[in-house]
């Protein structure tokens, strides 16, 4: 990659943890001051964060564009829809979450073998292709999945057999999201991420100092998938409804776009990106009705042309450092 365009990943320091704490405090308190609808928006934003973090890891560490996050969201969602909706097996989160986790890890690892065969354009395309395959399978297998009608009437979840209220679900989502953020921050600050960055920086040298390139790439892909699988379960419960549209490639692209809006030169990027994207989507579609795709598309195109992958947080950072210099 061109050195002039190179970007750096900051290390997780005390400031990051404090910011995380402040962020958590805000989202804990916020539901008491906002309407129920705004709370669902907030909940959706929270649930997006882990998936965007998956994209973020692959982008900022490995420099790969991961269009396939929707595969794992879809898997998690449909597992939930089957278990808690259609076949009414269980609505116990403590069973569903581990199940979704295991399924997405297995699927991600197997897919990783194929998808990670080549990087760059090919990786991105294979990501899109796999989502489309899942989309078509779900769409066509009408008898099992309900086809384009999807599956509705998913039971409300229960936690350790205690049924969760809407507010309870919000806080559970919050705990899961923040938990994953904390885990991801740890991953980003581990030797694993250091070595991934080495692979992206110079594959030949990475190999020559004994880094098992292929296996580490696959593991990164699996981590991203696992994140999305977990959020898939909770997203299904949040909407009470699942349709094949979760497997659409455009949905997967939204996570990439969120990451770009937020920026990948800061850990706050995925958080800002997830909330930014969802709120933009909401406000633009209420105020400008049909224009929302055009506005979002152009925004991202302009961001990429002007500041590359730095995104909003990158711009803010540069502004701050300029002010500080003065």
């Amino acid at each position: 990659m061109n050195t002039a365009l190179s970007m750096t990943v900051p290390s997780v320091g005390r400031r990051t943890w404090i910011t995380t704490l402040i962020f958590t405090a805000i989202v804990v308190v916020l539901p008491f001051f906002i309407s129920g609808y705004q709370r669902t928006l907030l909940q959706k934003g929270l649930l997006w964060i882990p998936s965007v973090f998956g994209v973020y890891i692959l982008y900022s560490l490995l420099r790969q564009v991961h269009f396939g996050q929707s595969i794992f969201i879809g898997l998690g969602s449909y597992i939930t829809a089957f278990m808690a909706g259609k076949y009414s097996v269980t609505n116990e989160l403590m069973i569903l979450l581990p199940l979704a986790l295991v399924v997405s890890i297995v699927v991600a690892y197997v897919l990783g073998i194929f998808i990670m065969k080549r990087t760059g354009f090919y990786f991105a395309v294979m990501g899109i292709a796999v989502t489309m395959v899942f989309w078509s399978l779900v769409y066509k297998a009408r008898t099992i999945t309900g086809g384009s009608d999807g599956i509705s009437h998913i039971k409300n979840p229960s936690l350790f057999t205690v049924p969760l209220s809407d507010m309870g679900l919000y806080y559970f989502c919050l705990i899961v999201s923040v938990g994953i953020i904390v885990l991801m921050l740890r991953v980003l600050n581990s030797s694993f991420s250091l070595q991934l960055r080495a692979i992206a920086g110079d594959l030949e040298k990475a190999e020559s100092i004994g880094i098992p390139v292929k296996r580490m790439q696959r593991l990164a892909f699996t981590i991203a998938g696992a994140n999305a699988g977990i959020t898939g379960v909770l997203l299904a419960f949040s909407y009470n409804y699942v349709s094949p549209s979760v497997f659409e490639w455009g949905y997967g692209a939204n996570f990439v776009q969120s990451a770009i809006i937020g920026g990948v030169t800061s850990f706050a990027g995925p958080v800002v990106g997830a909330f930014g994207f969802i709120n933009l989507e909401f406000f633009i579609s209420t105020w400008f009705a049909n224009l929302w795709e055009i506005i979002i598309g152009l925004t991202i195109a302009i961001i990429v042309v002007t500041v590359g992958e730095k995104g909003v947080t990158g711009i803010v950072q540069t502004l701050f450092s300029k002010i500080r210099c003065k």
Partner: protein, 320 residues
């Protein structure tokens, strides 16, 4: 998503005994090929639209899928408005060519005002895939989200019977049209002075040495984008009478084009045509035999190829 109208395989005569079995199998196989023709020509043109830019200028540009979308809608609207049910082949071809010019214009404008400022492949992929949202947003405002159709050319061209298979003439027209376009492109690349310049700057040539030899890189890249846009728009126009135009078809276009490159390799016209046949026929067969896997089959083929030959069946290893 494109709802391909697959001509159901003719019910055929009931089994008449062993003597006719092989003939019937041949007939069934031919029917697969005939039914695959629209998909094949669609894939050839779209994949080469993406492939051409990738091969000549080494850039990844997904804008072609948006242009395809525009091509499909414009053909439907213009066709319905001007021709309606009065179909004439010449005016339909004129519409297609006009749509092609429109696509070329869009492609050049997007390149000159936007894509040329993108610096890495990763940026290009993200920015152009976001542009697809802009395209589909514009389509949504202009035409709404309900599919529109313009099937006059398909219906008016009639059918022919080939070896016991009833095939719409439009299938042959579509295939012929795209084949002529590809042959023209091949002629341009391999027989003309300008084609020589293109091949010199391509991944098979050497960009710097081409410039040393007096080739103006900017003009070549601009024309490359124009040709790509033209192919994509005409693909949209040609496929519209069969599949109609609906909101969100660009995803499938993008995917099939990209998978064809994975299988066929970068920069090979022959590879693109053969891959289009493989994928098209495989899709028709699965659509009839195992409809569940119809959309999955191109991906399965591509994965298999990636494992066996990471650079495509006819592909060479390029570092770009």
């Amino acid at each position: 998503m494109a709802q391909t109208i697959i001509n159901v395989v003719p019910e055929g005569t009931p089994p008449v005994g062993h003597i006719f079995e092989s003939q019937q199998m041949l007939s069934t196989f031919l029917s697969y090929i005939f039914n695959a023709l629209p998909m094949v020509s669609y894939i050839i043109m779209l994949s080469f639209s993406l492939n051409f830019i990738l091969y000549i200028s080494g850039r990844v540009s997904l804008t072609f899928a948006g242009i395809y979308l525009v091509g499909a809608y414009v053909t439907v609207s213009v066709g319905t408005y001007f021709l309606g049910q009065n179909f004439s082949l010449l005016s339909f071809i004129a519409i297609l060519l006009a749509v092609g010019l429109l696509g070329a214009a869009i492609s050049i404008v997007v390149y000159a005002t936007f894509e040329r400022f993108l610096k890495t492949d990763v940026h290009r992929m993200i920015a152009t895939s976001s542009l697809l949202m802009v395209f589909s947003g514009i389509i949504k405002i202009q035409w709404g989200t309900t599919p529109v159709t313009y099937s006059a050319p398909f219906l008016k061209m009639g059918i022919s019977e080939v070896l016991g298979n009833i095939v719409p003439n439009y299938y042959f027209f579509m295939f012929g049209f795209s084949l002529i376009l590809m042959l023209a492109l091949a002629y341009f690349l391999f027989r003309t002075a300008w084609g020589l310049r293109f091949r010199a700057t391509s991944l098979d040539g050497d960009r710097t040495m081409a410039q040393v030899c007096g080739v103006n890189q900017n003009i070549v890249t601009a024309i490359t984008f124009a040709i790509s846009g033209m192919l994509a728009a005409i693909a949209g126009g040609l496929y519209a009478p069969i599949a109609g135009a609906s909101y969100g078809i660009e995803g499938n276009a993008l995917l099939l084009a990209a998978l064809t490159i994975i299988v066929g390799g970068v920069g090979s016209i022959g590879g693109a045509v053969l891959t289009a046949f493989i994928i098209g026929i495989a899709r028709v067969i699965t659509a009839v035999e195992m409809p569940l896997f119809e959309l999955a089959i191109p991906f399965i083929i591509a994965s298999a190829v990636l494992v066996v030959r990471p650079y495509g069946i006819w592909g060479k290893e390029f570092k770009h």
